[in-house]
Symmetry: D2
Subunit: 310 residues, 4 copies
C-alpha cells in the first residue's frame, strides 16, 4: 500500500460517514459514496475526521468502516484516517488498525486543553505513539482552541520526520502558508487546506498543494485546483465564485454537516442524510435556502460552462 508523504496534492475529500435512518453505518452507501468522490476528482480520501462523526462510532465500527473504505478504494487513491483521541493508547490502537487495513496515514489534531507552548511536546508524543506511521498535523484553532504559531509548526516538522502534511485550517491563515513556504531550510511538507474550501484560490497561490475538505461538490475543489495548476487563475476563480454562495452556507459550524449530508443524499452519493445523535437535521427554512442556492448554482455553472457531474 502507498504511504502518505510530502508529495501529496490535489483534493483529499473529508468523507462523511453514511448512516441508515435507524442509525447503523450504511454499508451500501459507503460503497456508492467512495465512487461518487472518486468520480469527481478526489485524489485522496480522509475518513473519521471531525465532519465524519468519528466520535459517534465505537472503536470496532471505526475499524470496520476504515476497512470497507480501503477495500472499495482498492488502491486508486490514498486513504487517511482521523486518529485524534484524548489518549495515546486509543490513538495508537486505531492508527495501527488503520494501517493494517491499508490506510496511507493518519491525521491528528491536538486536544483543546493543550497550552500553546506544549504543542511540540504533544506531537512528539504523537510521533512516539505512531512509530513510523506518517501523520497529518491538523491545525484547526477554531475547533480545537489551540493556536500553533508558524515557528512552532516548523519546529514540529523539523523534529518529527513522520509529520508529512499540514492540514491547514487556521483562519485567517493565508500568511501562515506563506511563512511556511518561505521558511528557509525547512523540510518540505504537503499543505492541504480545509475550512470548506472558502479560501482555496488564495491558499493555492500562497503555496498550498490542494484541499482537504468535504464540500458536497468535490467538483469545486477539483476545478479550482486544476485551473490553478494549469496557470489559469481567472478560470479558477470563475469556478470558485459559482460555488461560493453554497460553500459559504455549508460552512456554518452548526448546521453545516446537515447541509452537506442533505446535498450528498440529494445527489445520490448516500441514501440518507441521517446523522447519529447528537444530530442536527435541516428545518424547512434551511431546506428552502439550500434549494434556492442549488438552483442558482446550476444556472451559474451552466453560464460558465462548468456543470457538475450529476
Amino acid at each position: 500500500m502507498p504511504r502518505l508523504d510530502e508529495t501529496a496534492a490535489g483534493v483529499y475529500i473529508i468523507a462523511v460517514t453514511p448512516f441508515t435512518d435507524t442509525g447503523a453505518v450504511d454499508l451500501a452507501s459507503t460503497e456508492t459514496m467512495v465512487e461518487f468522490y472518486l468520480a469527481r476528482g478526489a485524489t485522496g480520501l480522509t475518513v473519521l475526521g471531525m465532519m465524519g462523526e468519528a466520535p459517534k462510532l465505537s472503536g470496532a465500527e471505526a475499524i470496520a468502516f476504515t476497512r470497507q473504505i480501503v477495500r472499495r478504494v482498492a488502491g486508486r487513491v490514498p486513504v487517511v484516517v482521523g486518529a485524534s483521541s484524548p489518549g495515546f493508547a486509543a490513538m495508537g490502537e486505531l492508527s495501527r488498525a488503520a494501517m493494517d487495513a491499508g490506510a496511507a496515514g493518519v491525521m491528528v489534531a491536538p486536544p483543546g486543553t493543550l497550552r500553546t507552548d506544549d504543542s511540540i511536546a504533544y506531537f512528539r508524543n504523537v510521533a512516539d505513539t505512531l512509530g513510523d506511521i506518517p501523520f497529518v498535523l491538523q491545525d484547526f484553532p477554531q475547533a480545537s482552541g489551540v493556536q500553533i504559531a508558524p515557528a512552532v509548526i516548523r519546529r514540529i516538522v523539523d523534529a518529527l520526520p513522520s509529520c508529512v502534511m499540514l492540514k491547514h485550517e487556521d483562519w485567517p491563515g493565508l500568511n501562515k502558508i506563506t511563512w511556511l513556504r518561505d521558511a528557509e531550510g525547512m523540510r518540505r511538507i504537503s499543505i492541504l487546506t480545509g475550512n470548506g474550501g472558502i479560501f482555496l484560490p488564495e491558499e493555492l497561490r500562497r503555496g498550498a498543494d490542494g484541499a482537504m475538505t468535504g464540500f458536497a461538490f468535490p467538483e469545486m475543489m477539483q476545478g479550482v485546483v486544476d485551473a490553478h495548476f494549469a496557470g489559469d487563475p481567472q478560470r479558477a476563480s470563475d469556478i470558485f465564485d459559482a460555488y461560493l454562495p453554497l460553500a459559504r452556507y455549508e460552512q456554518q459550524p452548526g448546521p453545516g454537516l446537515a447541509v452537506r449530508k442533505y446535498i450528498l443524499a440529494r445527489r445520490g452519493a448516500i441514501a440518507s442524510d441521517a446523522q447519529r445523535t447528537p444530530r442536527s437535521a435541516l428545518n424547512q427554512a434551511e431546506i428552502a435556502e439550500v434549494e434556492f442556492l442549488l438552483a442558482r448554482q446550476s444556472d451559474r455553472l451552466a453560464a460558465i460552462g462548468a456543470a457538475p457531474r450529476d
Copy 2:
C-alpha cells in the same frame, strides 16, 4: 434629534475611524467618509464599534469624533454610538456625552467574562446606567465569547423597554432570527445583522430589518436590502453574489480591518488606510489578492448592470 426605536431598518454602516499617517484622528476624512456612506445608501451610521478602533481613542477623542460625525450628518440619518466598556461609569459617561452631542442611541456588547446566565442581570445594569437612552444589544459570540440564547434575548427585551434593537451577529444564527420573529407576544425590536453581511439575503428572509455592518461597498447592503423589500430575491442574490468573494475576504478576523480601510482609501472615502496601534497593514500578497478581487468584482457588477458609484 430623532431617537433610535424599533422601526429602524435599512443599512446602518459601521463607520471606521479615519486616522492620518501620524496617528491623529483625521478630521477632513471624517467629513468625506460621512458623505461617502450617505451617498451609497446608509440609513444610519454606527461609530465607535469594534471595527471603529474605539478602544484606541481616549475618552476626549471619542466624544469629539462623535460630535463631528453628528454635526456632519446633520440629522439626515440616526447615529448610533458604541458604548461597550468594562465598567458602567465609563459606559454612562460616554453614553450621556454621545446623546448630548445628538446621537440617536448607543450600542452595548457584554464583556467576555460574563457567564451566560448573568446576561439578563448585566443588561439590567446597562439599562439602569443608561436611563432612558435607547440601546442596541450587540450579540456577537465569536468576538465576545458570550452565548446568549434566544429565550434570554427575549427576556431581556421583555424586561427592558430601552432595548430597541438587536445587532445580530451570532454565527450561525439564522434560526435565532426566526425564533425571535416567531416568539409569540414578544415586543417588537429592530434586528439588523452584522458579520460583514455575508449571510444578508438569508437573514432578510428570516425577518431581519436590514444590516449593520461595515463592508467597504455599502452598495452591496443597499442593493440587497432594496431588492429584498421590493420582493425580488433573485436580484438580491445577483447583487450579493457579485460582492461575495470580496466580502468573504474582508471578513477575515485579523486582516479584515486593513482590507476595509485599504478599499475605503482607494475609493476616496478616507485619505489614508492608517490604523492606530495595534495595527495590521496589508502586505504585498494581500494587496494583490484584494486588487484581483476588485477587478473581478467590477466585471461581474457590469455584467449584471449594478456598477458601484465610484
Copy 3:
C-alpha cells in the same frame, strides 16, 4: 449488585489508575489500592475519572480495569465508572460493559464544545444512551469549560429520573449547593463534592452529602464528613485545617496528579507513581515541597490527635 441512587453519601474516592514503570496497568497495585481506600473510610469508589487517566487506557483496558476493581471490592461499596466520551456510541458501550461487570452507576461530564443552553438536550441524549443505568452529572466548569446554571441542573434532574447524583465541582459553588437544596419541589439527588476537598466543611454545611474526590489522604474526607454528621463542626475544621496545606498543594491543575501518585506510592497504596504519557513527574523542588508539607502535617495531626492510618 446495588445500584447507585439518591441516598449515596460519605466519601467516594476518585481512584487513580496504577501503572508499572513500563506503562502497563499494575494489577497488583490495583488490589492494594482498593484495600488502602476501603481501610481509610471510602464509602464508594469512582474509577476512570479525569484524575484516573481514563483517556490513556484503551477500551479493552478500561473494561478489564473496571472488572478487577469490582471483583476486588466484592460488594463492600458501590463502584462508579467514568463514562464521559466525545460520542454516545463509546459512552454506551463502556457503560453497559461497566454495569455488566458489576458497577453501581456511571459518571458523565459534558464535552467542552457544548453551548450552555444545550446542556439539557445533551443530558437527555446521555439518558437515552444509558437506558436505565443510573448516572452522576459531573459539573466541573474549570475543566470542561461548560457552565451549567442551577436552574438548568434542576431541569435536568426533573426531566431525567436516571440522574441520581451531582458531582459538584463548580468553583466557587457554595451558593449552587444551597440553591439546589432549597429548590422547592425538586426531586432529591445525592450531591458529592470534588475540587480536591478544599471546600468540604462549607460544602457539607450547605447540604452536600459528602465528597467525591481523590486527595491522597482519604482520612481527611472521612474525618471531616464524620465530624460534620456527628454535629461537631469545630472538630471537622480541626481535621480539615491540618490537611489543608497539602490538599491545596495537591490541587494544582498541572502537577496535582503527580503529587497524588507520589504520596500514594509513598504510603504503599500503589507500587509506583508512574503515569502514562502525557505525564508529569515531580521534580526535586516539588518533592522537597511535598516532604516539607508531609512532615508538618504529621506534627499537626499528632497535635490534634488525628494521626492517619499508615
Copy 4:
C-alpha cells in the same frame, strides 16, 4: 518621587477602592485604608488593579483616587497604578497622569483576545506607549485567558528595559518562577506573586521577592515574607497555615472581593463593604462562614503567638 525598579520586594498590597453606601468613592476611607495597610507591613501599594474595581471608575475618578492615595502615602512606600486598558491611548493617558501624580510605576495585563505568540508585540507596544515609565507585567492566565510561556517572558524582559517586575499569578506557576530565576544571562526583575497569597511560602523558596496581593490580613504576607527572609521556613509556614483557611475562602473568584471588603470594613480599614455595580454582597450563609473562619483564625494565631494588629 522614587521609581519602581527591579529591587522591589516585600508586600505590595493590592488596595481595594472604598465606596460609600451610595456609590461615591469614599475619601475618608481612602485615608484610613492607607494607614491600615502601612501599619500592617505594606512595602508598596498597588491601586486600580482587578480587585480594585478599576473599570467601574470614570477616568477622572481614577486619576483623583490615585492622587489622593499618593498624597496620603507621602513617599513612605511606592505606589503602583493598574493601567490595563483595551486601547493604548487610554493606557497612556492614565499612566502619564498617574506618574504626574507621583506614582512609582504602572501595571499592565494583556487583553484576553491576545494570541499567545503576539505577547511580545503587545508589550513592545505597551513599552512604546509608556516611554520611560517603569511597568509591571501582570501574568494572570486564569483572569486574562492569555498564556505567556517563561521563554516569552524572558524575551519581553530582555527586549524592554522598562519592564522591571513580574506580577506572577499563573497557576500552577511554581516552576515558572524557578525557570525565570535559573535563566542564564537574563536581566534581573522583581517577581512578586498574587493569587491571594495561597502559595506564598513555596513561591518565596522558588525565588520570588515577595507578594503583591490583597488578602484582608496583610499581616499574613508580612509575617511569611519576614520569616522567610529571616531563614525560618517553619515559622513562615506556621503563620501561613494559620491564615490559610480564610485566605482560601477569600480567594474564590466570585464572592472573593465581597469577602475581602467585608473583613476590611469589620477591621475598620474602610467604612463600608459597598461595591459599585456589578457587585456581589455576602449573603447570610457566607457571613456565617467568614465569621466561623475568623474566630478559628484568632484562636490559631493566639496559639502560635502571632495575633494580628487589630
